[in-house]
């Protein structure tokens, strides 16, 4: 009797070990990529980047920024939670001094009020070339595509929020409750449901995806489309003829916290 129990435990232990080794070995091995057909209309690039023209936004006033945020958040089914501490946002605005804390200087508020006419700055995920969030994710739920876009797999994310601690730009939001449910007044958190894009469950992290799903069908990112006068320009940084490269050639631009070595890919003309 004692022996048989011992044998059983041995076999059970070996089986558990075997089950554990397989995924570990897979993690270090290079698997063959599955074949997928690509939409012929898809826009492709080697390294996507975005240029935001703060001066142009100043002329347009805060309405255009609201339109950008509204377009992004409605297309991506971003929920509007009533508790401001738990809000989910992909693109939002912050005062210049808060968007660029390293630009702090005396009388900066005068520049914010007069120089920028009180219009804040649009901020979003920077799709860093060296993303800290991807480095820390314990399940590869956040990953970087070859074209530089930092993506989220909502079906794999375990909600540990290590990426939120790692992101130096506050670009990530957790669904602190069920985004598919109703608020106190019985209204859905997702105002208008877009059936073309997945909704999320509670407990997963989300953020801007540079509209990867729109690029795949030949459309520009939603916030870019809203801006008729090139207030936001999106393009391939590796293409010398691209509009973003032209703007970077002609203008002095700044980025958020470049000293951290993340190499953010959202550039600001101030």
């Amino acid at each position: 009797m004692g022996n048989s129990r011992r044998d059983f435990l041995k076999i059970a232990g070996l089986s558990a070990l075997g089950l554990g080794i397989k995924p570990t070995a897979d993690a270090f091995a290079q698997g063959a990529a599955p074949k997928v057909s690509v939409n012929p209309k898809a826009i492709r690039g080697k390294r996507w980047a975005m240029v935001i023209n703060v001066q142009k936004f100043k002329e347009k006033g805060p309405e255009l920024q609201k339109a950008c945020m509204e377009a992004c958040h409605s297309i991506h089914n971003v929920p509007h939670f009533d508790n401001p501490k738990q809000e989910v946002k992909w693109i939002w605005t912050a005062e210049f001094g808060h968007s660029f804390p390293d630009q702090e200087r005396p009388y900066l508020h005068e520049f914010e009020e007069d120089g920028l006419k009180g219009v804040p700055v649009l901020v979003l995920c920077n799709h860093c070339e060296n993303p800290a969030c991807v480095r820390v994710c314990p399940v590869k739920a956040t990953f970087q595509r070859p074209d530089g876009i930092v993506m989220m797999d909502y079906h794999r994310c375990i909600g540990c929020r290590y990426c939120m601690a790692a992101c130096p730009y506050g670009a990530r939001s957790l669904n602190w409750r069920d985004p598919r449910s109703l608020d106190k007044d019985g209204k859905p958190f997702i105002k208008t449901l877009n059936r073309e894009f997945p909704t999320r469950t509670r407990g997963v992290v989300e953020k801007c995806n540079f509209c990867a799903e729109r690029l795949a069908v030949g459309k520009m990112p939603a916030c870019v489309e809203v801006c008729k006068d090139n207030e936001i320009v999106f393009g391939d940084l590796e293409d010398p003829k691209s509009e973003v490269r032209k703007l970077l050639r002609e203008h002095f631009v700044i980025r958020r916290k470049p000293q951290l070595g993340t190499n953010p890919q959202v550039y600001y003309i101030v």
């Binding site: 804390p101 820390v136 314990p138 939120m164 130096p168 602190w176 509670r202």
Partner: protein, 385 residues
């Protein structure tokens, strides 16, 4: 050997039932969290880790500190610790179990926790933390249980336990180092971005854990008639004194770099705790309470006459344990998020369900420790009789 935990005095059963009630309240509140989501806690978009991760961090230290009893006994043949090394090993088992519980109930999607094993990611420190913590748990269960079983039969432990014990010594250092690396490698969090983080973690761990051992020895003497021996307690107190000195020293090193360099990204977090920032400072009283307790207990532990006063020692140890519980179990984690990367200040306070769940996990740890110690005490009493 578990049968020993099933017979005990009225006091024993009252304590067990009390713990079961605390655990039950925690479980009920966790079910609410499971249903509603982490929004039931006081955490927010800006302060995205709170009490759960803080307690996890602190308890990793408590678990690692078992090595402070194991090392003198097994490496230096310090016989005085013979009676209490097993107490340390069982503290490690209970504390690591609490750590793993805290990590899992902090997940937004606990049903996907096993994704960590399905998709192992060697570049994530969290992956390595899971590896070293479960390894340490396994080592200590194995060692503690085998040694106790041999004690019951009056036989010396088999030779292979010695090998595992030697492995467990560097392993204890690894669990706390890796946990410090969780925080110390993040580019945008000035509060945590410091190489002293791992040494600080080890210092505070080797103070808090042995302080708990002393408190438990006092408790066991009263409720179970177990005498660890004054010589052993005096030696553990010396360890606490040295470790507290190291902790205070490391903290002052951090203070020097932060305040002499005057770099705002590093200074703002400390300013928030010490004097408040832009009119916010709800955690200021906790910070000062932790500092005052740390200073008083360190001074009195260094002075031999106060350290060796058996009536004063438990109070000093309680001060050490609580001071470090505040500093590491709450403030160290929350402080990294205040101010936020956009220099906004969102304050944090745990909610009632969050506190109930936290106490529930402490209940689980206390119950495990109670059962382990009950078995140990019963076996020792039988051996004596």
């Amino acid at each position: 050997m578990f049968e020993k935990a099933l017979s005990g005095s009225k006091g024993y059963w009252a304590w067990v039932i009390f713990l079961l009630i605390v655990i039950g309240i925690g479980v009920l509140n966790y079910l609410r969290q499971w249903e509603y989501g982490l929004g039931i806690t006081g955490m927010s978009r800006d302060v995205s880790w709170g009490l759960y991760i803080g307690q996890f961090t602190y308890l990793v230290g408590v678990a690692a500190s078992a090595v402070m009893l194991v090392m003198p006994y097994y490496l230096h043949n310090y016989k005085v610790f013979g009676k209490i090394t097993i107490l340390g090993e069982f503290i490690a088992v209970s504390a690591v179990t609490m750590c793993l519980s805290f990590v899992i109930l902090d997940l937004g999607r606990p049903d996907r926790a096993m994704n960590m094993l399905l998709h192992p990611t060697p570049n994530s420190v969290l992956f390595w933390d899971a590896v070293v913590l479960s390894g340490y748990l396994g080592l200590n269960i194995f060692i503690g249980w085998t040694v106790l079983g041999c004690e019951k039969r009056g036989a010396p432990p088999p030779k292979w336990t010695k090998v595992l014990i030697y492995i467990s010594i560097p392993w204890a250092f690894s669990i706390h180092t890796v946990t410090a690396f969780l925080l110390a490698g993040l580019p945008g969090r000035g509060f945590w971005l410091t190489a002293i983080m791992a040494p600080r973690f080890l210092g505070s761990a080797f103070a808090a854990g042995p302080a708990l051992v002393i408190l438990l020895c006092y408790l066991l003497k009263r409720v179970a008639g177990f005498d660890a021996g004054w010589e052993a307690i005096r030696s553990v107190a010396k360890i606490v004194a040295y470790a507290m000195c190291a902790t205070v020293f490391f903290f002052l090193c951090e203070m020097f770099t932060v305040y002499y360099s005057q770099i705002p990204e590093h200074m703002n977090h400390f300013a928030y705790f010490f004097k408040g920032l832009h009119g916010h400072g709800s955690l200021m009283p906790l910070m000062w309470a932790a500092i005052i307790m740390a200073v008083i207990s360190t001074i009195l532990l260094v002075i031999p006459s106060t350290r060796n006063n058996p009536d004063l020692l438990p109070y000093l140890c309680a001060m050490v344990f609580i001071s470090l519980l505040i500093e590491k179990g709450i403030l160290l984690i929350v402080g990294g998020f205040i101010p936020s990367p956009l220099e906004h200040i969102t304050e944090y306070a745990p909610t009632l369900p969050e506190l109930a769940i936290t106490f529930g996990v402490w209940g689980i740890g206390a119950l495990m420790l109670t059962v382990f110690y009950k078995i140990t005490m019963s076996i020792r009493k039988e051996a004596q009789a």
